[in-house]
């Protein structure tokens, strides 16, 4: 009897998700049809989708496995460059590599975009596998700084003169084919997100969580700690790489400066705001932060009320707001918007019923 109820609830959630997807597709189709009118909205949605993929992939390793990795930008760079190099139209290449020319072996290699994205993910995953062997043995804080270091090394190698004929060195790559429509972006992101959700909810995903909760207990029930960490790191990096490829398609031109530490921090902001260890949190967080940054853009422009300029409003103000928001979340709502929970009918019902109790107990803790 209980089992039946449980199943019913899952189905309700699933139905809602499917409904959301269908509604999104319809909305996106409408936006696509009026492309010129809604150009701005489309670009915000596309960026949010890409960030949702990357944030969720960071959440796999940070939220679900408990490994604090700060190498996101580096793996994104690998995916982005792989995708870009393999998809820039041959005709445009002399123009892109106008300084140093392109490696003859790569001159005519063009693959379809989905293949390029997967290859980008695989390159990132391969590097993650190599890096993981030494790095994953480290304790949490050393792991953070070591992955951050690797991301900087990757960036330095990409920008180095030795890679001129492949990555175009410090000049960066341009003429990357973008998304033909926002639906295309939606489909790519959705496939990634669904795959990640399936992995998180599989037995492998449960291994990840077991390692996060208690390594010693996990080991005692026969989970190979190192292999699990390695797997989580590789899976996360694969999707980060694909996300990087999507970002390259969104931006249409990239250079090594795109993938600085700040990019990792931006993604961390999404993960933390959404809730470490919450799938829906990362997705909602990505939209919230990306759209928020755009909507708050007016904070960066001088504001004149009744002839006098309000002194607060000048470039950089919205980023200050976001930093303060991050600090507030870290200090007072340590678990983020959703705090390890998922957004679903069940949570809503529970929440509305238990809201008062929760408030009392949380107030007590402070």
């Amino acid at each position: 009897m209980n089992k039946m109820k449980f199943k019913d609830k899952i189905n309700i959630d699933l139905l809602i998700y499917i409904a959301i997807i269908v509604v999104s597709v319809i909305v996106l189709m409408y936006l696509d049809m009026n492309k010129f009118e809604y150009n701005y909205a489309i670009s915000i949605i596309e960026k949010s989708l890409v960030y949702a993929v990357v944030a969720l992939s960071m959440n796999i390793v940070t939220g679900f496995t408990g490994l604090f990795s700060l190498g996101q930008a580096g793996f994104m760079a690998l995916g982005a460059y792989t995708t870009a190099i393999l998809t820039i139209p041959v005709a445009a290449r002399p123009n892109v590599y106008y300084m140093n020319g392109i490696l003859p072996a790569l001159e005519n290699v063009v693959v379809p975009i989905p293949v390029a994205l997967i290859l980008g993910g695989l390159v990132a995953a391969l590097f993650a596998a190599l890096i993981g062997i030494p790095v994953l043995k480290l304790k949490s804080d050393y792991l953070a700084i070591a992955t951050l270091g690797f991301s900087e090394i990757i960036r330095a190698v990409i920008a180095s003169p030795m890679m001129d004929k492949i990555t175009n060195g410090s000049y960066g790559l341009k003429s990357i084919p973008g998304f033909k429509s926002s639906i295309e972006c939606f489909v790519f992101s959705l496939v990634c997100i669904v795959l990640m959700i399936l992995i998180i909810n599989s037995s492998t995903g449960r291994d990840f969580k077991a390692v996060r909760e208690d390594e010693i207990a996990a080991r005692s029930v026969g989970i190979n700690i190192f292999k699990t960490k390695q797997l989580s790191f590789i899976v996360s990096s694969f999707f980060t790489g694909v996300g990087g490829g999507l970002l390259a398609m969104f931006m249409r031109s990239i250079d090594s400066k795109t993938f600085q530490i700040t990019l990792t921090y931006d993604i961390l902001l999404i993960v933390v705001l959404g809730g470490i260890g919450s799938i829906t949190g990362s997705i909602v967080g990505a939209f919230f932060v990306t759209a928020g940054k755009e909507i708050l853009r007016f904070f960066d422009e001088p504001l004149v009320i009744a002839g006098t300029e309000v002194p607060l409003f000048k470039p950089g103000f919205r980023m200050v707001i976001f930093s303060i928001l991050l600090m507030v979340v870290v200090l007072f709502f340590r678990k983020g918007l959703l705090g390890g929970k998922e957004l679903s009918v069940k949570v809503f019902k529970k929440h509305s019923r238990k809201k008062n109790e929760d408030n009392v107990s949380e107030g007590g803790k402070e």
Binding site: L148, G149, V272, G316, M319, M327, L331
Partner: protein
């Protein structure tokens, strides 16, 4: 590279290394006590640069230096009070994210208040004076930096090993709870540690930026990370280790730049980190840390 060029580069390296050492000590002290990578430390160093620019504009330089040192120290203490002390009982990842948050906030705040464009750093009278030793010409600050660094380290070692507050610091870093049971005021000791770290970062900042001549909102982030690497290299928690690590990273970096591989100079630091963590995770002078279950 002839001998003169080599000496010239070595001198520059030692000077940069001195600044790195001063910042690295801040990391080492804080990590020793809180087991926290203070990601904001590099940004405190950057903000100290701005403090100097603005105080120098309105007051004579000895007072401006004093103001910079005091303001930076206060900033360090405030950051600890607001961003780290509420998270004493929280998991380590939360504290680390808080540290990243502070770093993010300081960078964005600096961009907002002072714009992202580099600002000229004031020339402190006398410090940029050119000095000639044989065929090598250099400025006073280049020679002064390592001297000041070593003097400060000697002073700090005395403070940590011979004074009461130093003993408290060592006790807290050894065992948090036992120390507080022995009547050591935890918060006071931690504040004091942050104060020292920030003060040294401010001194390092004056020496570093006098040589570089410009400050911008991100000028602290990479030096900050490098100095953390220096601290890990020397053995986290060890002051002589941080000194040695700072000099090592500074000299290697200068030599790599001199050879013409400047794109790799930043990457090199992180290679050092990873190699060190693989071979000897406790660093050169670090104590072996036994993980308690």
């Amino acid at each position: 590279m002839n001998i003169n060029q080599f000496l010239q580069h070595a001198l520059t390296g030692i000077s940069v290394g001195g600044c790195y050492a001063l910042i690295a000590i801040g990391y080492t002290l804080v990590y020793g006590i809180l087991r926290l990578i203070n990601f904001a430390h590099g940004d405190i160093f950057m903000i100290a640069g701005y403090f100097m620019i603005f105080s120098f504009a309105v007051m004579p330089f000895p007072i401006a230096i004093l103001v910079t040192l005091v303001a930076t120290t206060v900033l360090g203490i405030l950051i600890e009070k607001f961003a780290y002390s509420p998270l004493r009982q929280a998991p380590r990842m939360s504290v680390m994210i808080s540290a990243i948050g502070v770093s993010y906030l300081l960078q964005n705040l600096a961009t907002y208040l002072f714009t992202a464009l580099p600002k000229a750093y004031p020339a402190i009278p006398g410090l940029k004076q050119v000095i000639k030793i044989g065929d090598i010409s250099t400025s006073l600050v280049t020679i002064l930096t390592p001297v000041i660094t070593i003097l400060l380290v000697v002073l700090l070692l005395w403070l940590v090993n011979k004074t009461k507050i130093g003993m408290a610091m060592r006790a807290v870093s050894r065992d948090y709870e036992a120390a507080s049971l022995m009547g050591i005021k935890l918060n006071k000791t931690i504040s004091f540690t942050f104060a020292i770290g920030s003060l040294l970062a401010a001194i390092g900042s004056i020496l570093y930026f006098t040589d570089r001549m410009t400050v911008f909102p991100f000028s602290g982030s990479l030096p900050g990370l490098k100095c953390f690497v220096a601290a890990v290299f020397g053995g986290i928690g060890s002051i002589p280790g941080a000194l040695l690590g700072g000099f090592f990273i500074g000299i290697c970096e200068t030599i790599i730049k001199a050879v013409g591989l400047s794109t790799f100079s930043d990457a090199f630091t992180f290679i050092v980190l990873i190699v060190m963590l693989l071979i000897k995770p406790t660093g050169l002078f670090g104590e072996k840390n036994i993980d308690k279950v």
